[in-house]
């Protein structure tokens, strides 16, 4: 543990001596905020079940490099027509944007994301990279925007800090698909913070995949502010990530705002994944939905901490939360903390959580119809997980993820 904090200290002192770095004082302030807790321990309520921090504590050295590695960007492209952003090893590499109304720029200003989470403070102190994306008023972007996020095999850094910003002005629409590509087998720690601002009537559909990441420790943080009648849809496809924590903080600040979060997870070996979602209903007539489906093999571990907070003025709130897990091995673990904190009386809030094994009766039914055990199990797990894909409202992407699920070998 001391090793990691001295490694971070070392990185920070070399960072602030760099002449290109701006806002040094603000960074120092944020860094001191981080130092108050350091890498949080399991004793903190919010990090109670976290495996990520254990993995971070195993780092003895961290390096930050500004070198741009060579990578063939033409590979791995999707065959449907889309706009592209390329991120390579934590640096905005290239962008190919043709749609009107979309404006992209290199993120280079220090913009603090106010949060007490020590890892967000750490990100505020270090982040020098990322992109800023703005959708101009009344533009409904037709083509999806795909963000290719490469972690290459020649990655020079082991400590990566991104900070992205997405602003959707009034009456806009955008579909973003984040395709994380891991070519790297060495250990690194990536801290990624995204700030999303949805103005009145804006609609953002945010999909992402997270596959075959064998060695990294990832921390992803989303902060989303929603205005009047805006809509945020989030879907994350997680298949074998070594160690990852996804935190999403949603603020429903305008009436009729709606946020829908969904996760599909397949984990095996010793992999672990945590989701910590907080939804703050701050205005009347706001709606939210949280939906998780998880299949756990081997000695994998999944954690879900979801919270619905309803302010006393947020009457007519509708909050929904469901997390379900299949435990497919004796060593797999599922931990959930579905929380409600409600201060308004005219609300409809419910949460459900279940975990268990494959239903023996259903398995028997399938086998009695001549399907062998392996296929029967596969069918049931796929059916179970596919429900999460149904939460996607964009038909093309729904199909894309269904195909992905069908082709997956992880059963």
């Amino acid at each position: 543990m001391d090793q990691i904090s001295s490694a971070i200290d070392k990185c920070f002192s070399s960072l602030i001596t760099d002449t290109d770095i701006k806002n040094v004082n603000d960074r120092k302030e944020e860094f001191n905020k981080f130092k108050n807790t350091g890498i949080p321990s399991n004793k903190y309520e919010n990090w109670k079940y976290s495996s990520l921090i254990k993995d971070i504590n195993n780092f003895s050295d961290l390096t930050i490099s500004k070198k741009k590695p060579n990578v063939n960007l033409k590979k791995n492209l999707f065959d449907f027509s889309h706009d592209k952003i390329f991120l390579v090893d934590g640096i905005l590499h290239d962008a190919d944007i043709n749609e009107k109304g979309l404006k992209i720029s290199q993120y280079n200003n220090f913009k603090k994301i106010g949060n007490n989470n020590p890892l967000v403070c750490l990100n505020n102190a270090f982040a020098c990279n990322g992109f800023e994306l703005e959708v101009k008023e009344n533009s409904k972007v037709k083509k999806p925007l795909v963000i290719y996020n490469y972690f290459t095999s020649q990655m020079p850094s082991t400590f990566i800090n991104f900070q992205h910003k997405l602003v959707l002005n009034s009456n806009t629409e955008l579909v973003v698909f984040i395709n994380n590509i891991f070519q790297n087998n060495s250990k690194f720690f990536c801290n990624n913070v995204t700030n999303v601002e949805l103005k009145d009537g804006a609609i953002l559909k945010n999909y992402s995949t997270h596959e075959n990441n064998k060695s990294s420790s990832l921390f992803n943080f989303y902060n989303v502010d929603l205005g009047y009648s805006s809509n945020f849809e989030y879907f994350n496809y997680i298949n074998n990530t070594s160690s990852c924590r996804d935190e999403i903080n949603i603020n429903l600040n305008g009436e009729n705002a709606f946020a829908s979060l969904a996760n599909l997870q397949i984990l095996d070996q010793k992999y672990n994944h945590e989701s910590k979602w907080v939804i703050n209903h701050n205005k009347e007539n706001t709606k939210s939905s949280q939906f998780l489906k998880t299949a756990l093999h081997d000695s994998s571990h999944s954690v879900f901490q979801g919270k619905i907070y309803v302010n006393s003025i947020a009457q007519k709130t509708d909050g929904y939360q469901l997390s379900r897990a299949l435990l497919l091995s004796d060593l797999a673990k599922f931990t959930a903390k579905p929380e409600l904190e409600i201060y308004a009386d005219d609300v409809k809030c419910s949460h459900g959580s279940s975990s268990g094994s494959i239903d023996e009766d259903s398995l028997f039914y399938l086998r009695s119809r001549g399907i062998d055990e392996k296929d029967a199990k596969k069918m049931m797990i796929q059916g179970f997980l596919a429900e999460a894909v149904q939460k996607i409202t964009d038909k093309n992407f729904q199909q894309l993820f269904l195909n992905k699920l069908a082709l997956s070998n992880e059963y």
Binding site: L340, I342, C349, S353, S355
Partner: protein, 483 residues
């Protein structure tokens, strides 16, 4: 005044905290403060054997190194443990009464006011009562009859003297000395409580009951209850509590330990009606209680039922450790908070044995400026094959200044287990109210009826004698919260 207004007035008069009287009797108290002296004094007063004192001092040593927890939702001002009295007993008890008739008439009157079946009523209701007044067990009724079938039902101080082998074996075996702050505090300074032992194969023929009352001001009440159900036995135990109205907050930190051996069943019911403080939130009891049951034997069962209507702050989690194969744990709870009351309550179900089952039904109701939190843990360990859990926690909000919170922790480490959790939050709908009012019920009656319906699943679990009282309490506690 119209007839209905008259009725409301009458209803209101009846429904104030009616147990808020102080009994004027002489008490002996130890000098203030928590120290080795105090503990030695308590032990001496109770003529305890050496080993008991050593046990208490060990707890005290441990306590010195511990910190008060502060993760709970309802925060409270710091308690000055040196400003508390740890022992208070009615003086006339010094020369122990031999029978009920010898009891101080003042104390008897107190119990009559409370409506506890101590004398004539005892035959009618068939309840055996162990009444604890401040810190000392006053009288245990029906003792002889229970003795005939081998049931031991007495105060814990008596048990320490007369059944040391049982007490030594089980005391602290469910809630160890080294548990959390308040449990350890209790282990050091506990003054009295009940002790129950049901011998193998005996089905206790009547409901056993304890009645707690905090009378002296500035005292903490630290009672300790130990119930052991030997192989194949059954017992149902009731607990009720009240306290006089006082401006300052009083601490109540009890420990309750249950042990169920093979095929045994324990049913533990609580109706908690400590003084909740006035309408502005002054005074009231801090109810920081540790209750834990261990299903040690195969096929054993422990069932907790609680109706929590009183106390300024309720902070407790009656739990079950399901060690034996096929053992079962149940938790039924109604927690009602009104005005400035706060509750943080729930349960822990720890599944260790094979095919263990647990069921949690929790109903939280908050009104006024109250805060009501359900916090629970369901933990299935790797060896608990075929374990099952079902949890349902519903909250009802009356008014928009109160809060209802649900914080369940679910840990599943076994693939053959099933865990289900459900929670909803709602309010009393206008349709329901309209329907009731249309049929001639006034607003308060309608609310009381709807709330009683909401809690029905839990109230049904209470033994008859308590069910009626609990229903009334539910109505009274919400008094003044609507309209």
């Amino acid at each position: 005044m119209t007839k209905s207004e008259d009725l409301i007035k009458k209803y209101k008069e009846n429904s104030e905290y009616t147990h808020g009287f102080v009994t004027d009797i002489e008490t002996i108290e130890v000098p203030k403060g928590l120290s080795e002296q105090t503990i030695k004094f308590i032990s001496k007063q109770k003529q305890e054997p050496e080993w008991m004192l050593a046990w208490r001092l060990k707890a005290y040593e441990r306590l010195k190194k511990m910190k008060e927890p502060n993760w709970q939702k309802p925060k409270y001002p710091k308690i000055d443990y040196q400003d508390l009295y740890y022992y208070s007993a009615p003086k006339s008890l010094k020369d122990q009464p031999k029978s009920l008739d010898e009891i101080d008439p003042e104390i008897r009157k107190t119990y009559e006011k409370l409506g506890i079946p101590l004398e004539e009523q005892k035959r009618l209701s068939g309840v055996a009562v162990d009444a604890v007044f401040d810190s000392v067990s006053v009288a245990t009724t029906f003792k002889d009859e229970l003795k005939k079938i081998g049931v031991i039902f007495c105060s814990i101080s008596e048990a320490i003297k007369e059944h040391p082998e049982l007490v030594k074996k089980y005391l602290g075996s469910v809630i160890p000395l080294t548990d959390h702050y308040f449990a350890t505090l209790n282990s050091a300074v506990f003054t009295d409580g009940s002790f129950v032992y049901i011998p193998p194969g005996v089905r206790c023929p009547m409901e056993l009951s304890t009645y707690f009352r905090i009378n002296a001001s500035n005292t903490g009440q630290f009672e300790r209850t130990l119930i052991i159900a030997d192989k194949g036995s059954y017992v149902s135990y009731l607990e009720g509590c009240t306290a006089p109205m006082r401006d300052e907050n009083q601490l109540h930190a009890a420990n309750v330990e249950l042990v169920a051996l093979d095929d045994a069943e324990i049913k533990y019911s609580t109706v908690q009606n400590w003084y909740p403080g006035d309408k502005e939130g002054n005074g009231g009891i801090y109810n920081f209680v540790t209750k834990r049951g261990a299903c040690r034997g195969k096929n054993s069962k422990i069932s907790w039922t609680q109706v929590e209507t009183g106390s300024a702050i309720t902070w407790k989690y009656p739990s079950c450790i399901l060690q034996g194969d096929n053992s079962q744990g149940e938790f039924y709870s109604v927690a009602i908070t009104n005005n400035y009351q706060k509750a943080d309550t729930g349960t822990k179900m720890i599944h260790l044995g094979k095919n263990t089952k647990s069921k949690i039904i929790s109903k939280g109701i908050s009104a006024g400026n109250a805060d009501n939190t359900y916090r629970g843990l369901v933990s299935i360990h790797p060896k608990a094959k075929g374990a099952k859990n079902f949890t349902q926690c519903d909250s009802l909000l009356v008014g928009n200044k109160c809060g209802a919170h649900t914080i369940p922790y679910i840990e599943n480490k076994n693939s053959t287990s099933d865990i289900e959790h459900e929670a909803t939050t709602s309010k009393i709908s206008d349709d329901q109210l309209f329907y009731c009012r249309q049929r001639g019920l006034n607003q308060e009656e309608a609310v009381s009826l709807i709330v009683n319906g909401f809690c029905k699943e839990v109230l049904q679990q209470l033994p008859m004698e308590f069910a009626v009282e609990a229903q009334k309490l539910v109505g009274i506690s919400l008094e003044g919260s609507v309209g």
